[in-house]
């Protein structure tokens, strides 16, 4: 929370700094604004969407760094030399952090290489902003350092993420753009005003490259989230089966034993005053057993484990107080896909009974080489909203954890359509 506030503040401060410092060169307005806002936005995305605390901290710190750069570059007639060197050292240190952090395996040997390159850039920047004679050396150093950093980072990411050329594209492309931009800005700026071209080259470096890294981070975070969601569901399913077994083999059997004893007692006391009460006790016990059986069936339908989805759905519709037809067949499925499909159907039909005021529902199954499509329609009043209530949200989680998609919408003229696509290879 503090971090996201910090990043927003950084972005706003950047904008404020621009407004209060008319000395910022006109051509730098757009990049400055873009960079300030991109920090804020990226920091927020990191924090809120991905929950990556470290990365959002980094973005916030980079934003502050950018402000320092802005201040030093826009100070009219300032000793730009010192300011630029300080700024570059800061940026190099931050770059070190950034590259070391994303991905974390970059720390260690590669991190040290990147850091070396980053600090070389800082020194080079100093040379570039120093006497004119030293500038070509500085330019060459900058180009080498930047190229080296990108090479190391790209190689590392490809290794650690097992990325293909296509998936590494978000890093490769901005890296290439930034490299070319840095080089051209460096070379073009040899004769220009050092603070201005420095700002241009750093703009490219700072604004473009993190986006590429963030895409990689986001992808990894998404993949991790998906995997952890699948693990949580898997654990929940195992727990569900365990509870059902405990209830069925434990509690239910105790109730049966109690019923046996009660039966014996009832026969012994037949015709006495107590027999009326005993009958009531027996009825209560039967009610408890029925209820327990229903609970067991709901939490772990044994037809699903024994005979697969088609049989389980056929059994399910027997217990739904609604006219339900089923068309199509799912055939054999991996257990995760089968339970996702089963619970989607069960929950959708339960919702229909509870909320839709429908007279009939239809379940349609279609299987192809890539997966199973299951569509549940009813003729009720519609208005189902996955954003409200936990039932549909939970189903979305379940389907997405299986790598699929759940779609809930209203149907014309009336009714609800719940459509799920669950990938599985046959």
């Amino acid at each position: 929370m503090i971090l996201s506030v910090a990043t927003v503040t950084t972005g706003l401060l950047t904008v404020a700094a621009m407004a209060s410092r008319p000395v910022v060169p006109a051509e730098a307005t757009v990049p400055v604004l873009a960079v300030g806002l991109s920090f804020a936005a990226i920091g927020l995305i990191c924090r809120i969407q991905l929950g990556v605390g470290g990365a959002s901290l980094l973005i916030g710190v980079l934003g502050v760094g950018w402000l320092v750069l802005l201040a030093s570059a826009s100070a009219a007639g300032s000793p730009a030399f010192g300011g630029a060197v300080v700024t570059n050292v800061v940026v190099a240190a931050l770059g070190h952090l950034l590259l070391g952090q994303v991905p974390s395996r970059l720390s260690g040997a590669a991190g040290r290489k990147v850091a070396t390159a980053g600090y070389a850039t800082a020194v080079a920047a100093g040379l570039l902003t120093g006497p004119p004679a030293a500038r070509p050396v500085g330019a060459a150093l900058v180009a080498l350092a930047v190229a080296g950093v990108f090479a190391v980072v790209v190689l590392r990411i490809r290794e650690s993420e097992r990325a293909t050329a296509r998936t590494a594209l978000p890093v490769l492309l901005p890296a290439g753009v930034a490299l070319v931009a840095c080089l051209s800005a460096t070379l073009a700026g040899l004769d220009g005003d050092p603070p201005t071209w420095l700002m241009h080259s750093l703009f490219w470096f700072l604004a473009v490259t993190p986006v590429g890294f963030l895409i990689v981070v986001a992808r990894r975070a998404l993949a991790q989230t998906r995997a952890s969601r699948a693990r949580v569901l898997h654990a929940a399913d195992a727990e569900r089966r365990r509870i059902e077994r405990d209830l069925h083999d434990g509690v239910q059997q105790h109730l049966v034993s109690a019923a046996v004893l009660l039966d014996l007692l009832a026969r012994r006391l037949d015709g006495t005053e107590a027999s009326g009460t005993l009958q009531k006790v027996a009825a209560t016990l039967t009610g408890a057993r029925d209820e327990l059986r229903h609970i067991c069936r709901r939490i772990n339908p044994n037809a699903l484990a024994d005979d697969g989805l088609d049989a389980a759905l056929a059994e399910l519709v027997w217990h739904i107080p609604l006219r339900v037809t089923v068309s199509g067949r799912a055939g054999p499925l991996p257990s995760e896909a089968a339970s996702a499909a089963y619970y989607v159907t069960a929950e959708a039909l339960t919702n229909t009974v509870k909320h839709a005021g429908a007279t009939a529902a239809h379940v349609e199954l279609a299987r192809d080489a890539t997966g199973l499509r299951i569509v549940i329609t009813d003729d009720g009043r519609g208005g189902a909203d996955p954003a409200r209530g936990t039932g549909l949200r939970g189903l979305t989680d379940r389907v997405e954890a299986a790598g699929g998609r759940l779609d809930v919408r209203d149907r014309r003229p009336g009714g609800t359509v719940v459509a799920a696509r669950i990938p599985c290879t046959s």
Binding site: H248, V256, S257, A259, R293, R297, D307, E315, H319, R323
Partner: protein
């Protein structure tokens, strides 16, 4: 009355043997799998067989398949299937071959010795014994498919349900705490509303089940 028991749980086998012997049945054999069941039925030609739905090797529906085999080979043997879990679909499958001489009960019901004995007697005698849960599911579907069943009063529906379970009129009267005459009246009303002609005692019960089943597909 002669019976054969098939259940892979030794405890269940012995328990059933004990209960049934005590109730006056002669237990010809108590076996643990479908193959032995076939052999025992061929050898003893019992009046009825009590069969666990799940038996080795897959523990899914061996008992059910064995029951179908026995029905094809020895149709005079009553078949009472016992199931750990309620599977309406399996019960319907069993009834597909005709509702006479078959029963499907949850194992829980065995706790009430009298219920088990009564069910077995009905099955052996050519009737039906259906678990109340199966009947409830059948009735539910029948009511949904045929709103005409709505003309049955709630009490008539209860009576139809108990008939489908296989209970006799006097047993229904005891269960509902009414007189037999009242039950008789309900039964006539039900048959009139369902368009079934009155027939002999057992057949009417079997046909009540078939009437429910008929609307289920």
């Amino acid at each position: 009355m002669h019976v054969v028991i098939a259940d892979d749980s030794a405890l269940m086998r012995h328990g059933l043997s004990l209960i049934l012997s005590e109730a006056g049945f002669t237990v010809d054999a108590a076996v643990a799998n479908a193959d032995d069941l076939h052999t025992a039925v061929r050898a003893h030609r019992p009046d009825a067989a009590v069969i666990d739905v799940r038996m080795p090797p897959t523990h899914t529906d061996e008992g059910l398949r064995a029951a179908r085999g026995i029905r094809a080979e020895c149709p005079e043997v009553g078949l009472l299937l016992l199931s750990q879990y309620l599977r309406v679909g399996q019960a319907i499958e069993l009834l597909d071959g005709g509702a006479a001489r078959v029963g499907y009960l949850l194992k829980d019901r065995v706790a009430h010795t009298s219920e088990l004995v009564a069910a077995l007697e009905r099955v052996a005698g050519g009737g039906t014994a259906l678990d109340p849960e199966v009947v409830a599911a059948l009735l539910r579907r029948r009511c949904l498919a045929d709103p005409g069943l709505g003309t049955l009063t709630p009490q008539e529906r209860r009576v139809l349900g108990l008939m489908a379970e296989g209970l006799s009129n006097s047993a229904i009267a005891t269960t509902l705490v009414v007189t037999i005459r009242t039950v008789d009246k309900h039964v006539s009303a039900i048959f009139a509303k369902l368009g079934l002609h009155p027939g002999d005692h057992h057949h009417r019960r079997v046909r009540a089940v078939l009437a429910l089943l008929g609307a289920s597909r």
